[in-house]
């Protein structure tokens, strides 16, 4: 069975600077896969390479189809939702308008989609008219997640959801991600610096170092791995 997402020997560069070297990874349908690594390891660039936000070479396949030179607009229509670094929320628009934007690629009525979103994020109902930029960091992250979910994607790319959030909120976010994965069958590729929680939620993980895949394997194994424990888990 082919994986939902496959990357083979992907390179990416910003101008003259090569950031990803020969990165290969695979995500099976229904999995949560984590990409770990220090700052500057190329984790964000990996997601950008998939969504077409950055130029890349190499083989990228989604549901068997090569992604070619598709830009972000096309990739979104293929069923990949990318929640970028900084969340990509439209701070000047209202909460509801942000959600509506998630439905851009959907045709027909999105009433069902709104209902589903409200099931996972009930607090949104009361805040519909609030300007998104005035939400707290945690709420904005959840709004970004909700917006991505509105797209009804097959694959969710999540970039550092824990960034700038208090531990309780981080746990909550990942709880929702896990719920979406289990209840809605949403495949997730999450990039995280917080290896601890990422390895708890994900079934598989890749560790990037300086733009290359240094390690990969089931989370349980990686959690026991000596260097992972030392560098990323702190014990």
């Amino acid at each position: 069975m082919t994986a939902l997402l496959e990357l083979k020997s992907v390179n990416a560069r910003y101008g003259q600077l090569r950031v990803l070297h020969d990165v290969s990874l695979a995500v099976e349908e229904g999995q949560i896969v984590a990409v770990l690594g220090a700052n500057g390891a190329g984790k964000t660039t990996t997601l950008r390479a998939i969504s077409g936000t950055v130029r890349r070479e190499g083989e990228l396949r989604f549901a068997g189809r090569p992604l070619g030179r598709s830009g972000p607009e096309t990739v979104a229509r293929l069923g990949i939702a990318h929640v970028p670094e900084g969340r990509g929320t439209f701070s000047e628009l209202t909460v509801w308008e942000n959600l509506r934007l998630g439905a851009t690629t959907r045709h027909g009525s999105s009433d069902d989609d709104f209902a589903r979103v409200l099931r996972y994020f009930p607090w949104i109902e009361d805040r519909r008219g609030q300007q998104a930029g005035t939400l707290s960091g945690g709420e904005q992250q959840m709004l970004a997640l909700a917006r991505a979910f509105m797209q009804r994607p097959r694959l969710l790319l999540l970039d550092e959801p824990s960034l700038g959030l208090a531990p309780l909120l981080v746990t909550e976010i990942f709880r929702i991600v896990k719920e979406l994965n289990e209840q809605e069958g949403l495949t997730v590729l999450v990039v995280e610096q917080n290896a601890h929680i990422a390895l708890q939620v994900a079934s598989h993980a890749y560790v990037l170092e300086v733009g290359r895949v240094a390690l990969s394997g089931p989370s349980a194994e990686l959690q026991e791995h000596e260097s992972i424990r030392r560098s990323y888990l702190g014990y």
């Binding site: 990509g88 929320t89 628009l93 509506r100 934007l101 998630g102």
Partner: protein, 322 residues
């Protein structure tokens, strides 16, 4: 009272409210005042339409389209040609709006898109080049002599008490305000409008939700051209059709757009109306300001406002992150 509290929080609204009260009182007091106010509003509506076009494009691309006035003028000539070929005024009006939309999108695709990634100043220069080019082409095709179109609203004058108000002024006001409202509805309530707003605010994030930002920009230019066409068609009855007809209107539109705050569509319209009324009243009551000083006066107002509110009346104070 809620309204009083809201007004107190936003001094700009307070000033505008005070201005409106002043206008109403003055109009009730003097019929000349009332006439000048109405005429000023009609003139201001034209400034506002063109200013709104400028703001639309500025919000989407951070570019000041110097060719907006000439594009408006060119589309007015299209309407002229259509009437010459036998169409009624309003049929020509409708077709011209469609032509203007296509014109605007084509200009964006052909001239602006190739440069817009490279530098803002290059795009501005291209719009200046377009200004010159369009002016030259229209003058070549139609010559510089004055042309006349059938009057859209007729020449009748209504009398409300002792106040004489021309049908033309009312019609201009109505058409301009209607087009602005329609545009507002488009942006607020439709999916396309939301996508366009998102594309203008955060193009990168918009792409991630699947918005084709490039198409949104082209459509934005198309809509701006439609607004310009309305402004041009509403200007023609008073200025008559000649290649230079929109050049000073463009300048007033700049002043109105900046006055209102370049990021604010509401500001552009309010700025235009306010400017129109202000200039008319000053022209009437302050003899020193003759024809030559109207434009500098508009800009003096502009400069005055900018010194107090550097981002315009409705502009947001930008918080710069260090």
């Amino acid at each position: 009272m809620e309204i009083a509290r809201r007004l107190a929080q936003r001094p700009v609204l307070l000033v505008l409210a005070g201005g409106c009260v002043f206008l109403v009182v003055g109009s009730l007091d003097s019929s000349i005042f009332a006439q000048q106010t109405v005429a000023g509003l009609a003139q201001g509506a034209i400034f506002g339409s063109l200013a709104l076009a400028l703001v639309l494009i500025y919000r989407a691309t951070e570019v000041i389209n110097f060719a907006q006035g000439e594009m408006a003028m060119a589309t007015t000539y299209v309407a002229f040609q259509l009437t010459k070929w036998g169409l009624s005024y309003w049929a020509a009006f409708a077709i011209t709006l469609v032509v203007a939309f296509v014109f605007g999108t084509v200009v964006q695709l052909v001239f602006i898109r190739p440069v817009q990634q490279k530098s803002v100043i290059a795009v501005v220069i291209v719009t200046i080049g377009l200004f010159i080019l369009i002016d030259g082409l229209v003058t070549w095709r139609f010559s510089a002599q004055l042309q006349f179109m059938p009057a859209p609203f007729g020449n009748s004058v209504y009398h409300v008490g002792s106040v004489a108000v021309s049908r033309q002024a009312l019609g201009t006001l109505l058409v301009s305000v209607l087009s602005v409202i329609l545009l507002g509805v488009l942006f607020r309530f439709t999916k396309l409008g939301l996508s366009m707003r998102a594309a203008a605010l955060r193009p990168a994030a918009a792409r991630l939700v699947g918005i084709r930002v490039d198409w949104m920009l082209a459509i934005g230019w198309g809509l701006a051209a439609v607004l310009g066409a309305v402004a041009g068609l509403m200007t023609e009855p008073t200025q008559f059709l000649q290649p230079t007809m929109m050049q000073s209107i463009l300048l007033y539109a700049f002043a109105a757009a900046v006055l209102g705050g370049l990021e604010s569509p509401v500001g552009a319209v309010v700025g235009g109306l306010a400017l129109g009324v202000f200039l008319n009243l000053i022209g009437q009551y302050v003899g020193f300001v003759g024809a030559a000083l109207q434009l500098p006066l508009a800009f003096a107002v502009l400069l005055g406002v900018l010194l107090v509110k550097p981002n315009g009346l409705f502009g947001r104070a930008l918080v710069r992150r260090v």
